[in-house]
């Protein structure tokens, strides 16, 4: 989230698209309800009428996977009716930057596509340079970002939005009017989403299109505004921050790639440079300090100036190593073993039958989990003959989070330390102790037997009281980092250096555990709002700690104009104190003593432009989001029939053949969670199994009538990849959409059940149906949109 949970209460309009927070985030949803009680309007855009829609002012029934068309339509409405926040757009975005003349967009394709590779070269999406080598700025230039944007989205008319999304024009325009009003400086909209946006082959661009709308409306940086991703588990935010994905290092630093021999090579390819002379470019300018401090944290004294701070020790993967690729390697016989930690591979999918085959191709599988999972017991899946599976499976009983202390990082980036509630049961051991023990034994083997390039393993720092049983408190201090000359823990990442005199395990967490102690433990909250909430805007700066630097609202300098005047004086979180010559209120997302004025530096200090980006080359599938159909769709792309799908989508070998067509699978399947369960783990919790005992699919009433299906009947839902045989729930909450004269139906498929848990043996895995394709940038699978058939059994 750019903002935070409590901040949602300040919104005038809550736009929820690609999320169902009343069901998936019921606790945080209290802030949406608070906003509503304060008089905000709530708009829910979703294929299903959910428990979120039930308390909304407006529900727009849309077709899954068409978010770019919806947001594109809104941008077109806002631009063509001049409803955008002009002052904000001209100061805080790159609207006036001029794009160089290579740019083109024809019939669904941007310039720079290499058809043989199936990839774009994003470096061709660039700004025209001025005489000083910086980006040329001229708002009225025909190739200014704003003019290209207008042209690009002029095709997204209300008629086109209806043809693609199925939302009737009149309803779309009703919402567009509500959204358009949020471009007024004294109004604010929050855009709230979850995995309903990410689980698409156009996931990144969908979110980007929502973020661009927010930039046009001047709603980023303002309380009650922002782009707010609701994370699906209590610590998923911490998970990504600490790089539990392959393509980044902790703190969202890029993973090095082959050919980068020095830190300078790495920085050249990774760190942004100033596109404009007045850009602060804080991230780009400090990238070197962050990577060197990380190397010092990992390799300690072995990282020296002479050996490039052990840059050679970092892996430089030549290919994609994402989640799906991992299983591809196993299927190709290139992987012997796999360790799963907190990951129910089989249930999580996609195409769980393929994943079961991949797990069956391993020699061994080790699973660290507090409870049995479908990953650990994949050999018991329906339709699997256990005798055919030769994989040796080890269950390592890990502690549950109630059995250990540590931190959770919530969607609002707030790092909250929690205590151990009960001691570990039986032989259960912490995941990080398993990892430390494994590492210790491997290191001993390397020390005894040598090997190819043992250096990174030999030299890794394990500066804990007991290196085989590190405490999470020690790890938190290590993540925070130190000044090696004084030995003291640092208070800010601004103090990190690139000369090897500082350490930091994750620069965005530097300052959370200074010499004063672990700030994530702080609990100065609503027991005394007068003291604990100085701005009166619910920031509670001494409640735990928020990355970065305890800043509660990102880009907060953009809530004021260049002269330091509040865009919305009744919702102020930051102001310039002319006496102290400092920004006060929230921790400023800006140099703290940099004054406002006619020549104030632009407010997005992390980008090379200094502005929010309406045009970018930081994504692989186009500088502007464009609508493409999901890989399996019953509809032809109305904008460009010859370019049906995202051209930059990566297709694994043989996957094309596993995709079905509407002739065989005429309905759209979409998967989701229900309130009553938490992913797959609560199949072990009796009271929750009572609330939701059995797998089902939701079937539109009109379609059910056609097929003679009633609530409670057993049905078979199949895709080209697999099937589930479960109960039907017939409802008008799912309804037909009229798309180009055809009635299109969605089948709703909750994911929670498997063949492990209290009701063992009965249940099928929803992800048996989902396709093995993912977003062009992240390879997050397309769980939200695929083709199925349904029959009564």
């Amino acid at each position: 989230m750019t903002n935070h949970w409590r901040d949602i209460q300040h919104a005038d309009l809550v736009l929820i698209n690609g999320g169902n927070p009343a069901e998936a985030h019921p606790v945080g949803f209290r802030w949406v309800i608070k906003a509503k009680i304060n008089g905000a309007k709530l708009v829910h855009v979703d294929p299903r009428f959910t428990r979120t829609s039930a308390v909304s002012d407006v529900h727009l029934r849309t077709r899954t996977g068409t978010d770019v068309a919806f947001f594109g339509g809104l941008m077109n409405y806002v631009l063509s009716n001049n409803l955008y926040h002009r002052d904000y757009v001209e100061w805080a975005t790159n609207a006036a930057f001029v794009v160089d003349d290579r740019y083109s967009f024809n019939d669904g394709m941007f310039n720079g596509f290499d058809a043989a590779k199936g990839q774009y070269d994003p470096t061709v999406w660039a700004y025209e340079k001025d005489a000083t080598g910086h980006a040329k700025v001229d708002l009225n230039h025909p190739r200014s970002v704003l003019n290209l944007l207008r042209k690009h989205y002029s095709r997204y008319t209300p008629e086109m939005v209806e043809r693609i999304t199925g939302i009737p024009q009149a309803q779309f325009l009703q919402v567009a009017k509500m959204v358009g009003e949020m471009g007024r400086p004294d109004k604010v909209m929050t855009f709230v989403y979850a995995v309903g946006m990410t689980h698409h082959t156009t996931g990144v661009q969908g979110i980007r299109s929502g973020a661009m709308l927010q930039l046009l409306l001047g709603n980023i940086g303002k309380p009650g505004g922002g782009v707010n991703a609701l994370r699906g588990h209590s610590n998923i935010q911490g998970n990504t921050d600490h790089a539990i994905v392959w393509e980044i290092l902790p703190g969202y630093l890029k993973i090095p790639v082959p050919g980068q021999k020095t830190i300078a090579d790495y920085l050249k390819a990774s760190a942004s440079t100033k596109a404009r002379p007045d850009a602060v470019n804080f991230f780009g300018e400090n990238y070197g300090s962050f990577i060197v401090s990380l190397l010092k944290a990992w390799y300690g004294p072995a990282a020296t100036k002479a050996n490039k701070f052990a840059f050679d020790y970092l892996p430089k993967p030549a290919g994609n190593s994402s989640w799906m690729t991992m299983f591809e390697r196993s299927l190709a016989g290139k992987m012997d073993g796999l360790i799963l930690s907190g990951y129910s591979a089989t249930s999580v999918g996609p195409d769980s039958n393929k994943i079961i085959k991949a797990l069956s191709s391993l020699k061994w599988l080790a699973v660290m989990d507090p409870l049995p999972t479908t990953g650990a017991e994949f050999w018991r899946a329906p339709d699997v003959n256990s005798a055919d599976v030769q994989t040796e499976v080890f269950m390592l009983p890990a502690t549950h989070w109630v059995e250990k202390e540590g931190s959770f990082v919530n969607s609002g980036r707030v790092v909250q330390w929690k205590d151990q509630v009960i001691p570990p049961e039986g032989q259960a051991m912490h995941d990080h102790w398993f990892a430390a023990e494994l590492f210790h034994r491997i290191r001993v083997l390397y020390q005894q037997e040598g090997g190819k390039f043992p250096d990174p393993i030999r030299d890794l720092t394990m500066d804990y009281a007991d290196p085989r049983k590190p405490t999470l408190d020690e790890v938190a201090q290590e993540i925070n980092g130190r000044d090696l000359t004084t030995g003291k823990r640092l208070e800010s990442f601004a103090l990190l250096k690139d000369d090897g005199t500082t350490t930091s395990g994750n620069w965005i967490y530097t300052g959370h555990y200074p010499e004063a102690g672990n700030l994530a433990l702080r609990r100065d909250g609503i027991q005394d709002p007068a003291t604990n909430d100085p701005t009166g805007m619910g920031l509670y700066p001494k409640w735990a700690w928020c990355w970065p630097l305890n800043r509660r609202v990102l880009y907060n300098r953009a809530s004021l104009d260049r002269f330091g005047r509040q865009y919305d004086p009744k919702r102020a979180i930051l102001s310039w104190d002319a006496t102290k010559k400092l920004w006060v209120g929230d921790v400023p997302d800006y140099p703290k003593a940099e004054p406002p004025g006619a020549n104030a530096k632009p407010p997005f200090i992390m980008t090379g432009e200094g502005t929010g980006r309406l045009f970018t080359n930081s994504v692989v599938d186009g500088p502007f989001p464009e609508f493409y159909e999901p890989m399996e769709s019953p509809v032809t792309n109305a904008l460009h029939p010859t370019v049906q799908n995202n051209p930059a989508v990566f297709m694994y070998e043989g996957i094309k053949e596993t995709l079905g067509t509407a002739a065989d699978y005429p309905y759209i399947g979409t998967t989701y969670r229900l309130t009553e369960h938490e992913h797959f783990v609560t199949q072990h919790v009796e009271h929750l199994v009572q609330l939701q005992p059995e797998a089902f699919v939701e079937v539109p009433a009109a379609l059910a009538k056609e097929k003679g299906i009633a609530t409670g009947d057993h049905v078979r839902v199949s895709s080209k990849r697999g099937k589930v045989e479960v109960r039907a729930v017939v409802t008008k909450r799912l309804g037909g959409l009229q798309i180009d004269g055809k009635t299109i139906y969605h089948i709703g498929i909750p994911i929670h059940w498997g063949f492990v848990g209290i009701n063992t043996g009965k249940h099928w895995v929803a992800n048996a149906l989902t396709p093995f394709v993912g977003d062009a940038n992240t390879r997050t699978p397309e769980f939200k949109s695929f083709l199925v058939n349904i029959e009564k059994i």
């Binding site: 009343a22 069901e23 019921p26 606790v27 945080g28 949803f29 209290r30 309800i33 509503k36 009680i37 008089g39 829910h44 009428f49 428990r51 979120t52 829609s53 039930a54 308390v55 909304s56 002012d57 407006v58 529900h59 727009l60 029934r61 199925g166 939302i167 009737p168 309803q171 009703q174 309130t675 009553e676 009796e686 009271h687 929750l688 199994v689 009572q690 609330l691 939701q692 005992p693 059995e694 089902f696 939701e698 009433a701 009109a702 609530t711 409670g712 109960r727 729930v729 409802t731 008008k732 909450r733 309804g735 959409l737 209290i758 009701n759």
Partner: protein, 285 residues
């Protein structure tokens, strides 16, 4: 939170902000150590079914979603309501209990003393809300205690404590009534004119300590409406007379209805129609 014996306590359940999460059901079962019934598939969203000896909170779902693409939910298309014992001022369960197991506590709530209950089941048939039921394991009547044990320790009831959207509010009844009145005013000013209070005054069984803000007619939530909610009472002559009068009127109306229907009876199509409303539906109690 200070909870003072001698004051009336209860719940204000605001269904306009209920999101059907059922955290109240789970918190209730967890605190009160109710194992709950065998897991059974209901209709996908409501698998609890009804209030009972093992379900002291039950979230009702009423799906009125229309055929066409839907414009406005406004809290009426899919109703959710966390139902609970109403802790009636004129509590029929107390009236019929022969052993005095059902008592009114110092917090003005209705409580079953399990060690006094003889399992006669009078209360289970008397309760107009079908709240109180026999527990088949220990053979005593059970229902919401309004967390009597928590109140004694100045803790709010588990359901109210856990409710994420503050749909369930706990407090002194007079304060809750004031809060509820303001909430209705706010909703009306926001254009949600269908919102109203049920049981917040003495018109329903003399007043409900657990009252509701509803978004549709009481009958939709399986609640008796104002006309039906008069309790025959030992110490309430008005109640007897009222119900006698209602019964007479009901019988009269039923006879009239039958007479009126008679000419249409031969038509087979009428069998499929819903029964014509008569006063017996409302005045029979």
């Amino acid at each position: 939170m200070e909870i003072t014996p001698g004051r009336s306590y209860g719940f204000f359940t605001d269904t306009s902000v209920c999101i059907g999460c059922k955290a109240c059901e789970v918190a209730c079962k967890t605190w009160n150590e109710l194992p709950g019934p065998e897991p059974t598939f209901g209709d996908g969203y409501d698998n609890t079914g009804e209030l009972g000896a093992q379900n002291w909170r039950h979230v009702q779902f009423h799906d009125n979603v229309k055929d066409d693409t839907l414009e406005a939910g406004m809290g009426t298309a899919w109703l959710m309501m966390s139902d609970v014992c109403k802790h009636c001022k004129n509590a029929s369960c107390m009236e019929v209990c022969p052993t005095g197991a059902l008592m009114r506590t110092e917090f003005d709530t209705v409580y079953v003393q399990p060690d006094v209950c003889n399992g006669c089941r009078n209360c289970t048939s008397a309760c107009p809300y079908h709240v109180i039921q026999m527990d088949e394991t220990n053979k005593v009547a059970q229902k919401c205690t309004l967390c009597y044990d928590r109140l004694q320790g100045s803790l709010e009831p588990a359901c109210a404590k856990t409710c994420p959207t503050d749909s369930i509010n706990f407090g002194p009844v007079d304060e809750l009534r004031e809060m509820a009145k303001q909430r209705v005013e706010t909703l009306h000013s926001q254009g949600v004119t269908q919102a109203y209070l049920y049981g917040a005054d003495d018109s329903i069984y003399g007043g409900l300590n657990a009252f509701f803000l509803l978004m549709d007619k009481p009958e939709v939530y399986k609640l008796p409406n104002q006309e039906s909610s008069v309790l025959p009472s030992r110490n309430d002559a008005g109640g007897y007379l009222g119900s006698f009068g209602a019964a007479v009127a009901g019988i009269f109306a039923a006879v009239m209805a039958l007479r009126l229907r008679r000419p249409r009876e031969p038509e087979p199509a009428t069998a499929a129609e819903p029964p014509a409303p008569t006063t017996t539906d409302e005045g029979g109690k």
